[in-house]
Symmetry: C2
Subunit: 64 residues, 2 copies
């Protein structure tokens, strides 16, 4: 499923997918895929994204 929390947090920082990708050290396609929801990133990447966006793991990646 889509990760709208992450998309919103990125928007709040006014980062493009490319900018966020550069900050966390992955490609833009990886960021795009995570937001689109069709994959399963590693915890290290999730942590890097959280720190770049000033959010916690639970805020961006928890799901019920």
């Amino acid at each position: 499923m889509k990760n709208l929390n992450m998309k919103a947090a990125r928007a709040a920082k006014d980062y493009s997918q490319q900018e966020l990708a550069d900050i966390v050290g992955v490609t833009r396609q990886t960021i795009n895929a995570i937001e689109k929801g069709d994959y399963n990133p590693t915890i290290k990447l999730c942590l890097a994204i959280c720190k770049a966006l000033d959010k916690t793991l639970d805020e961006l990646f928890w799901e019920d």
Copy 2:
């Protein structure tokens, strides 16, 4: 680095590495490696572990 939070949460449930592995659907070696800290699990596996141990992502996997 070692994940002592996870080790403690598993101990609190009185699960062996093997039992936790069975519950979340991975091998015992994968659980062992995560606790030992020498790798980087996927977020889906982290979520499965959290649910098995009644903990949140932040409680088990946040790091500063």
